[in-house]
């Protein structure tokens, strides 16, 4: 087990190193480049050369990369130029990540508590109208562009019906005490129930928009896995032993079917981050996704490099954790 974890850790470090190289090269090959962005296109060659020297851009590329790594390890990525001009890019990341984690957790939990039972039911009633309807429904969910769904939800439930707030994470009128940066949790911790409830109301629409795709994936994987497991010999054995249906379903079918679902949930992280970029933009959520969309629009490369690196690292770390969890649940993986 320890060897398995160590090997995966080493692989992860390799991936992160290659990634940092890619992000570095990507930044350098963007059109315009840093110097033009800072001085404008019509700067004199002398001024350009001076700035290049000041920024270390006249050094050989491996020296520049090494400097980039040294600064990155200290969390120094430079100041934002477009998203929150003047603020340190890494600070922007630190300020905004609770917003995105809160939204992403809400969505993935929603997707799990709806997707797994629905997938299980659909599999048990295979080819019934319920099954067909939910399969087609989940496929429609995948076919709708996420940002369009977000617009639709916002248009009907916030703008037309006024049932839910239009944007943001909390009404500005609410005087909430900040503890963790997770607004719902803050409300609960400080017993400001109105502020927690307000934060939940703000979560619903963007959470729904973000949950569609993970829901569709979890639903389909669960359905397929349950169908697979129901035909296994050990289920037939359990049936012929005369075990109650309840025991068979809980212990033999569901527990085995959930194995592939666990891996899928880990793989949804990337999808959630992408979805967050689109959803947060529509709802002005103030999280990392919105910052990503804004920094592309405003060419804020200092912020972009932090976000790209951190997103990728998050994805890699979560999948490492999922792999470990998987090895703990399923001993067959470890021996391979």
């Amino acid at each position: 087990m320890l060897r398995f974890i160590l090997r995966r850790l080493l692989q992860m470090v390799g991936v992160v190193i290659v990634l940092s190289m890619l992000v570095f090269l990507w930044l350098r090959s963007l059109p315009g480049g840093t110097v033009s962005a800072m001085l404008g296109e019509r700067a004199t060659p002398a001024r350009r050369a001076a700035l290049e020297k000041a920024l270390g851009l006249d050094q050989p590329i491996y020296v520049q990369y090494w400097e980039f790594v040294k600064r990155a390890l200290q969390g120094k990525f430079g100041a934002s130029t477009g998203v929150q001009a003047g603020t340190d890019a890494f600070d922007i990341f630190m300020q905004r990540f609770p917003a995105t984690i809160e939204l992403a957790l809400f969505s993935i939990v929603l997707a799990i508590i709806v997707g797994i039972p629905l997938g299980y039911l659909a599999a048990r009633r295979r080819a019934s109208w319920f099954d067909n309807l939910s399969v087609v429904g989940s496929l429609i969910g995948v076919a709708v562009p996420v940002f369009f769904l977000a617009f639709l939800l916002k248009y009907f439930f916030a703008i037309q019906l006024h049932w839910l707030p239009v944007s943001g994470r909390q009404d500005s009128g609410i005087d909430a005490t900040r503890v963790t940066g997770f607004f719902v949790l803050d409300g609960v911790l400080t017993r400001e129930w109105d502020s927690a409830w307000d934060a939940i109301k703000h979560l619903i629409l963007p959470g729904l928009a973000l949950a569609t795709i993970p829901f569709a994936v979890i639903f389909r994987i669960t359905r397929a896995a349950v169908l697979d497991v129901m035909d296994e010999d050990y289920v037939r054995t359990a049936e012929s032993k005369g075990l109650t249906r309840r025991v068979i379903r809980g212990r033999h079918v569901l527990r085995n079917a959930l194995l592939p679902v666990v891996t899928t949930i880990g793989l949804q992280t990337g999808g959630l981050l992408v979805g967050a970029v689109l959803t947060e933009r529509v709802f002005s959520w103030g999280g990392l996704g919105e910052a990503t969309a804004l920094s592309f629009e405003r060419r804020d490369y200092a912020v972009l490099q932090v976000l790209l690196l951190m997103f990728a690292i998050t994805f890699v770390v979560i999948n490492l954790l999922v792999d470990i969890a998987y090895a703990v649940i399923d001993p067959r993986i470890r021996t391979r």
Partner: protein, 337 residues
């Protein structure tokens, strides 16, 4: 049917053998089966009646989900081909520009001859939607094809050679997969100094490369140790011939299914790129994703402007997805009960 007493050339025999074991699936082709197949390679074709593709087709013909998806996809392709003949107006002509008032009436509404109204510069929406089908199809198909070609190259290198080539390629694939797909696409699109339809196509294609590569590698690796490859190797077939004639054709099934799904995703991703401001800025050649991205400016006052291209995207993406998913299920040996 060839006579077993009149043996075919060696190459043909191996091909038949490869085809037969592939048809039975990796699970069915045990050692006993392989030995029998080698003994009477000439008879193998008789059992090809239940090949994977034939039985998949038999089940697909009666599957309403597949038929719906295939119908939508076929109609979409026909529309794309004949769109210039079907559009009532020139999609680039600013026919209703006289009615556009930036303050009071930025979007001319529905009227005789213009059932869906016009956009903010007075161009007929219906004609733009009809003509836009072609560009949408081109973006989807080219992005899928390029992604497929890249994945085919990497996946074949990796799955056919194994060893350090495999490790190297797969680490590269891991890195590509660790960047969330749309972010990777946006990052690549942002590299272009002059964004165009091509940057959109390439950006979406690059994201698909690691997915296709993984899929192909997995399939090729499973075959490396299978009996038909062993047989071919034992007969002294060259490595390149084994890879290209015996392994790749058998690996293509799941890849083609994936391509159908990727096509749907590519059309949706093109819209997302436009939404994030890195799409094709040139709107003389209409494309649905671009129309949807451009409509966000007016989305709360004139939602119809966004709804029409979005509906087109949803229907077409659903069509390809339904087709791809039912193909996947039909080709899955496990569901052939």
């Amino acid at each position: 049917m060839p006579n077993p007493l009149n043996p075919k050339t060696r190459k043909q025999r191996i091909d038949d053998l490869a085809a037969s074991t592939a048809g039975k699936g990796p699970a069915g082709g045990g050692v006993a089966v392989a030995e029998r197949s080698v003994a009477d390679a000439g008879h193998v074709e008789e059992s090809a009646g239940v090949s994977l593709i034939a039985s998949a087709w038999r089940r697909l013909r009666g599957n309403p989900v597949f038929l719906l998806g295939a119908t939508i996809s076929a109609l979409f392709v026909l529309l794309a081909i004949f769109s210039p003949l079907l559009a009532p107006h020139d999609p680039t002509a600013r026919l209703l520009i006289d009615q556009v008032r930036p303050q009071s009436n930025p979007i001319p509404g529905s009227q005789p001859g213009y059932p869906l109204g016009a956009d903010s510069v007075g161009r007929d929406i219906l004609s733009r939607l009809i003509v836009g089908s072609r560009q949408t199809l081109i973006v989807g198909v080219l992005a899928t094809l390029f992604g497929f070609a890249g994945g085919l190259t990497l996946g074949t290198l990796s799955g056919a050679f194994g060893g350090w080539v495999d490790s190297l390629v797969m680490r590269l694939v891991d890195v590509m997969l660790s960047i969330p797909s749309l972010l990777l696409a946006v990052s690549i699109a942002a590299l272009a100094s002059k964004p165009s339809q091509w940057t959109v196509i390439i950006a979406i294609a690059v994201v698909q490369v690691p997915i296709f590569a993984r899929l192909l590698r997995g399939s090729l690796l499973a075959q490396r140790s299978s009996d038909h490859v062993l047989a071919a190797r034992a007969l002294g077939v060259k490595r390149s011939a084994i890879v290209f004639r015996h392994m790749l054709p058998n690996a293509l099934g799941p890849v083609i299914v994936q391509a159908t799904l990727v096509l749907a995703g590519a059309i949706i991703d093109a819209a997302a790129l436009s939404f994030l401001g890195v799409g094709n800025p040139d709107d003389r050649q209409p494309e649905w994703g671009q129309m949807l991205g451009a409509a966000q400016e007016y989305i709360y006052d004139h939602p119809a402007l966004a709804v029409w291209p979005a509906l087109c995207i949803i229907i077409v993406a659903l069509g390809f997805t339904l087709m791809g998913e039912s193909l996947r299920e039909a080709l899955d040996p496990k569901s052939r009960r």
